[in-house]
């Protein structure tokens, strides 16, 4: 029986069948080779792709496009090369996931506040000669009247003479000096040659620069052994007074005659004393005022003498209008007024009157609060946010600073430094001329003595006796060191217990006027200035010293290892804050090399106000003209990188 193959594809094992087998094997091999090749290609492609991705990575820090998730900031001590007194370091930490990027930036600790002491104008400076009767006839209550008036004589040059000794204090604007001169006068002389003193006093006025000339006679009204004058002057007013002659004892009336003569010489004669015809006639004849007031003498000028305040992004200029602080922009409805009790200065008496006499002369900004004082000694606390006066205290003036939450101000005209609670209330009082403070201690210098006072308790913690009279005090808040500059040119560095750390000298002839500590490459330096020189001293000794060619240094700041020194050159015959030229001298603080010299303005430049946000130093002159200097190129004004860190996952 024959078996018939029923498969559709008949594959007999003949030559055709073998060819088919070979063809199938061949196809299988080709397919395998293609598969292997494609896998190799695919592997290589993937591998190359991954490798390509690796090398294409930017290798910059991968930050999110949406910005940092978290930004934190912390304050540290002053950056290297920046003034310890005025700056902090602001460390800014920006976080993206596990990655931190740190940067630093200079941040303002406090502005370089200053006190405007010299307030005279070349075009309008009255000269006032105070003639004080120091005879045994003198009623000393008139001294007080005269001292009060002198305290109000802003913008004036004042000299003091006595009937017995003549001129004992040359013309000056230093009220403390005038006050101490007045206090030194004792009424012990047997005679009071009033008209002779007036006649002599007329010759003490300068021939130039006096816009107006005034004589202020303070007397009990009794002339004794007086009238020894030229014959033509004895009855100059031709009033036929029989006493217009020299009388060996009391009774001469030549005073009103000399006053008339003075008036014709354009000199005003004012009188302070009892209500007598002689004194009133003298004031009348002398084109003056009997019992004069401030406005009779002080010129009315609109001017600025303090830097502007940067409160947030709002700027305030403390302006004086008609020579009086203009506080019209402040509400005073809720303000309290106080005065220091003359007999017990620890007591503040309530006052009904909030009038602020005189121009503003010093200030300090503490957050939203402005503390400022007028030149005549009235301390104001102002809320800058509410634009209102909180309180005023009559009798307090001088520099202002804060020690913790307490206010330290002084010296006043009596040379006292007050510590006040915010309330206000007097916490303690010390005599002193210069002071500075840390958070807890005040350092007060008087003569050769330096005292450390605990601010909260008022207890004296330590004392130091300097080899020379102390002319400046600075507390370095970064190093915790107190620097005491002396009038003999040496600087003593003391720790907070006033133990000597170092004694440095720059070989200055003048008094040390200001001290600025800073650090560079971990070494401490101090830049000190006198009236004519600048020097840099380290713990190893003098680094450099230079004379200043352009005027007198009035302010210095160290930024980015550069000393920014403001000078005022007043070569004018008649001096005043409107005269001369102010310069900004920029020196390398480490080498003393001059780097820039810029003319700021005519007259005295006040400031600078450091405006790190706008990257400028801002000065102001008496007219209120603003002058800015760009500091954007300084390292530290903008954030400077401090590298990055990636936390472990």
């Amino acid at each position: 029986m024959t078996h018939k193959n029923m498969f559709l594809c008949h594959t007999p094992s003949n030559s055709q069948g073998w060819i088919l087998v070979y063809a199938l094997v061949f196809l299988t091999l080709i397919q395998s080779a293609a598969l292997i090749t494609s896998s190799i290609i695919r592997y290589n492609y993937r591998s190359a792709n991954v490798f390509n991705q690796i090398i294409r990575q930017s290798h910059t820090l991968s930050k999110s496009d949406v910005g940092p998730i978290n930004t934190s900031s912390r304050l540290n001590q002053a950056p290297q090369g920046w003034d310890h007194l005025y700056f902090y370091t602001d460390l800014i930490d920006r976080t993206w996931g596990r990655q931190h990027t740190l940067s630093w930036q200079a941040c303002l600790r406090e502005q370089p506040y200053d006190r405007a002491e010299d307030m005279t104008f070349s075009f309008n400076t009255p000269y006032v000669l105070v003639i004080v009767d120091d005879s045994i006839y003198m009623d000393t209550s008139y001294y007080t009247h005269a001292v009060d008036l002198i305290n109000n004589l802003d913008l004036c040059m004042v000299g003091v003479a006595t009937t017995s000794k003549g001129l004992i204090q040359t013309y000056t604007v230093n009220k403390q000096l005038i006050r101490s001169t007045m206090e030194s006068i004792k009424p012990v002389c047997p005679d009071a040659a009033l008209s002779e003193s007036l006649f002599t006093g007329l010759g003490t006025f300068p021939k130039k620069c006096a816009a107006s000339r005034h004589v202020l006679i303070t007397t009990s009204g009794t002339a004794s052994d007086d009238g020894n004058l030229p014959e033509w002057l004895k009855d100059y007013d031709n009033d036929g007074d029989p006493n217009d002659i020299h009388i060996a004892g009391a009774g001469s009336h030549c005073l009103d005659d000399v006053a008339q003569y003075a008036a014709e010489k354009d000199i005003h004669v004012h009188t302070i004393g009892p209500d007598t015809a002689l004194l009133k006639n003298t004031a009348d004849n002398g084109n003056g005022v009997f019992l004069p007031y401030r406005d009779a003498i002080v010129p009315e000028i609109d001017f600025n003498c303090l830097m502007r305040i940067n409160h947030g992004k709002v700027f305030h200029a403390l302006k004086n209008v008609n020579s009086i602080f203009d506080y019209g922009w402040l509400a005073k409805d809720n303000a309290s007024a106080f005065a220091v009790d003359a007999t017990n200065p620890y007591t503040l008496l309530s006052l009904a009157n909030l009038d602020i006499p005189g121009p503003v002369s010093s200030m300090y900004v503490n957050g939203h609060e402005l503390l400022c004082s007028s030149r005549q000694g009235r301390l104001l606390k102002i809320n800058l946010t509410a634009k209102e006066i909180v309180w005023s205290i009559d009798g307090l003036g001088g520099d202002i600073t804060m020690g913790g939450d307490l206010i330290i101000t002084g010296p006043d005209t009596q040379g006292r430094i007050f510590c006040l609670k915010q309330g206000p209330a007097v916490k303690w009082i010390r005599k002193g001329r210069f002071f500075d403070s840390s958070e807890s201690k005040a350092y007060i210098a008087a003569g050769n003595n330096l005292e450390c006072v605990d601010i909260q308790s008022g207890i004296t913690c330590a004392q130091f006796n300097s080899p020379g009279p102390i002319s400046s005090i600075r507390y370095d808040p970064c190093a915790g060191i107190v620097y005491a500059g002396t009038s003999t040119g040496s600087i003593t560095a003391l720790n907070q217990d006033l133990e000597i750390v170092d004694i440095m000298t720059a070989g200055f002839k003048d008094s040390i006027a200001d001290i600025h500590p800073f650090t560079s490459l971990k070494r401490y330096y101090i830049l000190c200035i006198t009236r004519s020189e600048v020097a840099c001293i380290s713990d190893k000794g003098l680094v450099w010293s230079k004379s200043i060619d352009h005027g007198t240094p009035i302010k210095a700041i160290i930024m980015d290892s550069q000393a920014f020194i403001t000078t005022w050159e007043d070569k004018a015959e008649c001096t005043g804050i409107d005269a001369g030229t102010s310069y900004l001298i920029i020196m390398n603080a480490l080498t003393g090399e001059m780097e820039n010299n810029k003319t700021l303005c005519s007259g005295k430049a006040y400031g600078p106000m450091i405006d790190l946000e706008n990257m400028v130093l801002e000065y102001i002159n008496w007219k209120g003209t603003l002058i800015t200097y760009d500091i954007s190129s300084l390292t530290g004004v903008s954030p400077c990188p401090l590298g990055s860190r990636t936390d472990n996952p």
Binding site: Y43, S47, F51, I55, H59, R74, L91, L642
Partner: protein, 230 residues
Amino acid sequence: MIMNKGITLIELLLSIALASVIFMILYGMNRTASRTYMEIRDNWYCMQSIRNAILVIRNDMSNCGYLMPQDIRIAVRKNQLFIAGLPKTSSHSGLKIPSDSPPPCYSIIRILTNKGIELDTIDLDNDNRPDYWADLGLITNSGTAVISHSYKKGAKTLPLARQDSLSQWDRAIPAIHYELKSNGLYRNSQFLAEAITGFDAKLSAQKLSIEIKAGRNDTQKHVSLSYPFE
């Protein structure tokens, strides 16, 4: 019957010839596959070496100069690279922000001798932990150095294995030290990548450029890295 027939000589010869061709093709494919495998292996080897180097360098660069002076954070020498920073270890988690003095943190070279240097401090961040140890690099204002392997952690005097001409009163900071040796790339004297045959770093004001070459047998790989500075 056809099934009973034998094969002819021609059929045999043709079969042998065809089989030979098939065997030759198979041999060639095997050889190609083998060579490709070797190349892939060498490629992979080079790439792994480069990848290792890149990852470590990238990590070090991401922590470069943290809290240190940025003007001396990177230094390059022939076949060497110094990246300012401290490698994180089990005993040292890196620099911390000092509380008493503002960064940047650095040391000052106080004394310079033939044997080494004495620094003003070996604790940069004042956290009572020494921040220098053996085999670390040093970057200073005037040059670079490598701390000797014999240095005992905590000692103020640092013996130096190799150094440029350093200067007294220079700033000095610890740095991670990369060096290409004959058998590969080393990091702080520890072997990092075997197949690296070229390591060339260039520093400009804008960026750090690193050329890394890896080679094995006939395979060569070349990578250019660029780290732009902010």
